[in-house]
């Protein structure tokens, strides 16, 4: 069972971080980053299989793949931004974490603008046909 492996990696990493934090808080941050990356690489294989299934379903139903690709890009950017901002928050630098989140939100907005323009185009078409 993979969940037990993930949970035990998390608990071991937490204990190591607690032991190291008393003397070297900066090394404890690196321990938590490492644990996060290990767990992520653990689950990413299963996740990518799911994504391939979703992409093939979208291709079969002849939806424009631009929309689904944009959703995946948004998920990736949000994950990276959240990862970095939580590390900053753990290290006690909440302000830097908030700035990273703001940057992620603005980049996600840039990605979402083409979808919004497509929606506006559809609405304008409908209004012209009425």
């Amino acid at each position: 069972m993979d969940i037990f492996q993930i949970v035990s990696i998390g608990i071991v990493a937490t204990i190591i971080a607690l032991i190291i934090r008393q003397e070297h808080p900066e090394l404890a941050i690196l321990v938590s980053i490492t644990a996060g990356i290990i767990i992520f690489t653990f689950i990413i294989g299963k996740f990518s299989a799911n994504i391939n299934v979703i992409i093939s379903m979208v291709n079969q139903s002849r939806i424009d793949s631009l929309y689904v690709m944009t959703v995946f890009k948004v998920i990736g950017i949000a994950y990276i931004a959240e990862f970095a901002s939580q590390i900053c928050k753990d290290a006690g630098e909440e302000a830097i974490g908030k700035k990273i989140e703001l940057g992620g939100k603005i980049i996600i907005m840039n990605l979402a603008i083409p979808i919004l323009t497509a929606l506006m185009g559809i609405i304008v078409d409908i209004l012209n046909n009425v």
Binding site: I9, V12, A13, I16, I19, I20, E23, H24, E26, L27, A28, L30, V31, I33, T34, A35, I37, I38, F40, T41, F42, I44, F47, S48, I51, M69, F72, K73, I75, G76, I77, Y79, I80, F83
Partner: protein
Amino acid sequence: MNIDILFKIAAIGILVTVLNQVLVKAGREEIAMMVTLSGIVIVLLMVVNLINNLFTNVKSIFQLY
């Protein structure tokens, strides 16, 4: 993905702590500082590789190019 790197970081942390305390007791504060700094740099080099792996993974899976 190997969990060995976590134990490596823990070992480096404990080793650096012990060396640090010995050197401070011996009255060599500046060398103790250097030991701490080099321990952090070694671990940082290991973790930077991991972060690079994470970024390439996320980029390839979510098609972020």
